[in-house]
């Protein structure tokens, strides 16, 4: 029987629940409000009291309301059919919801249960497999979507049978495995995974080294990002963060693009929803939306779900990486996520850090960025998650905690400049203030010598020096006047 509890206190969307049995950190629960069940997540437990953040509006909630604990953490459902979908931060399929506004307490299944998929087996009977081993493949919008041994499986299994090539629903059994104790385990095309836990079913995570072409010259030429690399775009309001992210999403050489619109204005998200289905992928000639998933959690949605949205996006990216694909994950903006963390931290009356953000903000951001990367899978294939987040520093102050914490972990920094954006020059990247640490990686130098030539990095460094000298001279002229310019 599920653990239950009663609401004891309500502070906006932080609810204190007196529980009747043990609950775990980050466990999901549902608060019963008349006919509606409000999803919430345990974020702190003190004695008999569980502090839960509610992913919905808590209007009308009363002391004494019943709470039912689900016995699992916040999970996403993984399987074919994720691409082209528009989800909210909790992986509800937005297209399945009626009406213009989202109804409180309405949750929808993220995949299509009735759709038939063309399945082709990969594993053979008698083979030994483990979590994340590939059992078969379906064609998902022309991307090879691998059906894997569920990530939660422990130890090794022997394949007893794999379904023959044909059409199957996601709930149909496509393989039967035998565990180490001799029990048969049926596997279908769907599995679940908790979003706050990284999927680490790979052999090795070497330093990334392959250039990820974005088509943006200020990035590729002088501040390159690599497959499996991390970067961030700080910029005040209106400097073109979203324009740049959209541009990179369209042009970058990635197999899958996942966009997490976290706490952004609804009109910007609507723009993504309407623009992406129309865009043509320059690499395949197909619609860009066919290899894109959008996770939208706009600024008018409850703040707690913002945090969930970035973790949901990262978990989906890790799922596709385990298939040996190149994923580009864009989060716009991580500042709004940090603001959500700050709100919850303040309501929990935790000791505040700089600007009232939680003391462990740096660690939270670092742990999140660390989930990106280039990996060698157990079967020898490789996959990558390239993560680019935007930061919206209030008033353009790049010394604020979110920018500072992100700067410590992200290896690329693409500085946007207000004056360039004001004069309608996009992308508005300042090439001198921006940097890429990957230029210093010997692995990258070796790769680029083969991909372009061995003189590329020395030339790029010369270019940067000339740009820097030009800036210094301009500043000098500003002080000494034009008459000093003759020798400069």
């Amino acid at each position: 029987m599920a653990t239950t509890g009663k609401v004891k206190g309500i502070i906006a969307n932080l609810v204190i629940v007196e529980v009747e049995a043990a609950v775990s950190q980050n466990e999901i629960c549902f608060i019963i409000l008349d006919e509606v069940r409000l999803m919430a997540e345990v974020i702190k437990v003190i004695g008999k009291d569980a502090y839960v953040q509610v992913f919905e509006s808590t209007r009308g909630l009363k002391i004494g309301s019943t709470v039912e604990f689900a016995g699992h953490l916040l999970e996403v459902t993984l399987g074919p059919g994720i691409l082209s979908k528009n989800y909210d931060g909790l992986q509800n399929d937005l297209d399945k919801m009626d009406g213009v506004f989202l109804k409180r307490g309405e949750y929808t299944f993220p995949l299509d249960e009735d759709k038939l998929w063309d399945f082709k087996p990969i594993a053979k009977a008698g083979e030994t497999v483990e979590a994340a081993s590939w059992l078969g493949e379906v064609d998902e919008n022309f991307q090879p979507h691998k059906i894997m041994v569920p990530f939660v499986f422990e130890g090794s299994y022997t394949v007893k049978s794999v379904a023959e090539a044909g059409q199957y629903k996601i709930t149909d059994t496509i393989a039967v495995l035998v565990d180490e104790k001799g029990n048969d385990v049926e596997v279908n095309m769907i599995q679940k995974w908790p979003v706050k836990k990284a999927i680490t079913h790979y052999k090795n995570k070497p330093r990334p080294f392959k250039l990820l072409e974005t088509g943006v010259r200020t990035i590729d030429t002088i501040n390159p990002i690599v497959e499996g690399g991390t970067g961030f775009i700080p910029g005040p309001f209106g400097t073109g963060k979203t324009v740049l992210q959209h541009g990179i999403s369209k042009q970058a050489e990635a197999d899958i693009v996942i966009i997490a619109a976290c706490g952004e204005r609804a009109n910007e998200v609507v723009e993504i929803f309407t623009e992406f289905p129309e865009l043509v992928d320059p690499h395949t000639g197909r619609k860009l939306i066919e290899r894109t998933t959008i996770i939208a959690n706009t600024s008018n949605m409850p703040v707690a779900a913002r945090e969930a949205s970035v973790y949901t996006a990262m978990t989906l990216a890790e799922y596709y990486r385990a298939m040996g694909l190149k994923i580009l994950l864009m989060a716009d903006s991580t500042s709004r996520w940090a603001q959500a963390l700050r709100e919850m931290s303040n309501r929990l009356e935790e000791l505040p850090g700089p600007d009232a953000f939680p003391m462990d903000l740096s660690a939270i951001i670092a742990n999140f960025y660390a989930r990106a990367g280039y990996v060698e899978l157990n079967n020898g294939k490789t996959g990558s998650i390239t993560f680019i987040g935007t930061v919206s520093p209030a008033g353009g102050n790049l010394k604020e905690p979110v920018t500072e914490s992100t700067k410590k972990v992200a290896r690329c920094f693409f500085a946007l400049q207000q004056s360039r954006a004001d004069s309608k020059r996009y992308p508005a990247i300042n090439p001198i203030d921006s940097y890429s640490k990957y230029l210093e990686y010997p692995e990258f130098a070796e790769y680029i010598s083969e991909r372009i030539n061995d003189q590329w990095i020395p030339k790029v460094n010369r270019l940067k020096t000339m740009l820097q000298r030009g800036l210094e001279v301009s500043e000098q002229i500003n002080i000494l006047g034009d008459s000093s310019a003759g020798c400069l």
Partner: protein, 99 residues
């Protein structure tokens, strides 16, 4: 040669692109390499100007041709036409070529 003009040339000639232009919004790495080599060559050349006042307008012309190259399809007729124009412009003011 003035650092100020070279940095402007690098920035306006190759780095700044037009995110809203069909061709210039995305530049394959082969094209970036091609253009980088052109710009580095321009930076390495020596020029013969009779006065400082000539330098600014001259480089404005060079930048303009580079921009037109960026707007043309890579290695298309228009692209090579602009490249020829650039060579002509460079020949006008150049006295010696150094690596």
């Amino acid at each position: 040669m003035g650092w100020r003009f070279l940095s402007k040339l690098i920035f306006w000639g190759i780095l700044q692109q037009d995110a809203f232009d069909k061709v210039d919004c995305a530049s394959p790495i082969e094209r970036q390499e091609y253009m980088l080599n052109i710009v580095i060559d321009i930076c390495d050349k020596e020029y013969n100007f009779s006065g400082f006042a000539e330098v600014g307008p001259y480089f404005k012309k060079v930048i303009n041709v580079l921009k037109q190259m960026n707007y043309a399809l890579f290695k298309s007729d228009d692209f090579f036409k602009e490249e020829k124009e650039l060579e002509k412009l460079l020949a006008e003011s150049q006295v010696a070529v150094e690596a």
